[in-house]
Symmetry: C2
Amino acid sequence: MSAAIPDSLKDLLERPIVVAFATSNPDGQPQVTPVWASLEGEQVWINSAVGRRKDLNVRANPKVTVLALDPENAFHWAEIRGQVVDFVEGDAAVAHINKLSGIYAGNEDYYAFNPEGKGKETRVIYKIQPTRVNGM
Amino acid sequence: MSAAIPDSLKDLLERPIVVAFATSNPDGQPQVTPVWASLEGEQVWINSAVGRRKDLNVRANPKVTVLALDPENAFHWAEIRGQVVDFVEGDAAVAHINKLSGIYAGNEDYYAFNPEGKGKETRVIYKIQPTRVNGM
C-alpha cells in the first residue's frame, strides 16, 4: 500500500516548515516532536540520532505520521501517514542533516549549531514511504 | 500520574495557535490532525464531533498527545502527553467550540463558518489531563 503526495501539498515539505513527527511509545502513547523534514521523490525523510526515544519507537513500530502545517495559512496542511522502509546511518545521514540545516537554518554545517553532538551521536535518516495522505 | 504545564509554555495554548493532535488508529498508526485547543486550568481541551476517526480513536485509547509550535519561533514549543479524563457533549461542547471560534476565527458563532454541521453533528470536548510535558 502506497500513496502519492499531491503536488498541491508538496510545498509544505519543500519549504522550511518545522513538522510534527509522531511515533508510538511502548505504552501506546503518541510521541510527537518538532523536526525538520525533506521531500525526496515520493518519500519523506526525517533525520534523528540513534538511541533517542523516537529512534527506539520507530525501530519497534515503523508506522509513523508527519503533520506539516503552513504557519501562514491554517487551511493549508498535510498529514502523511507512512511506514519507515529504510534506516540509513553514516556519511549519508550526516550529509542529509547538513542539507536540512542549510534549508532550515541557512548553514549547511549542522554541527556549527550543535558542536556538542559532533562525533558523539550517530545520525540516522528515516525514509518514510507514505501510505495515506490527507490535507488541503 | 499528572504533570503541570510550566508557565513558560502556557502562551502556546492561550494564543490562537493551531496544534497537532495525535491519537492512535486501531492498527497502531498515529493519526495527527490540526485542531484548535484551549488551556482550562491545568487541562487542555480539544473539541471534535462524535463519530469522527479521531473520536473513535480517543474512546478506544484515551492516551493522546498535543504538540503546539510557535509559528513565529521554532525554538518555542510544547509537547503535552496526556489522558482524556472526561468527554463532554451537549450545550457545554457547543459553548466551547464557539469560544474557540472566537479566539481562532474572531467570531464566537462557530456555525457561521460551518452551517452544514449545525444540528447535524454532536460536538464533544476532550478534557486532557497532562501526564508529561516537554518543551522549550
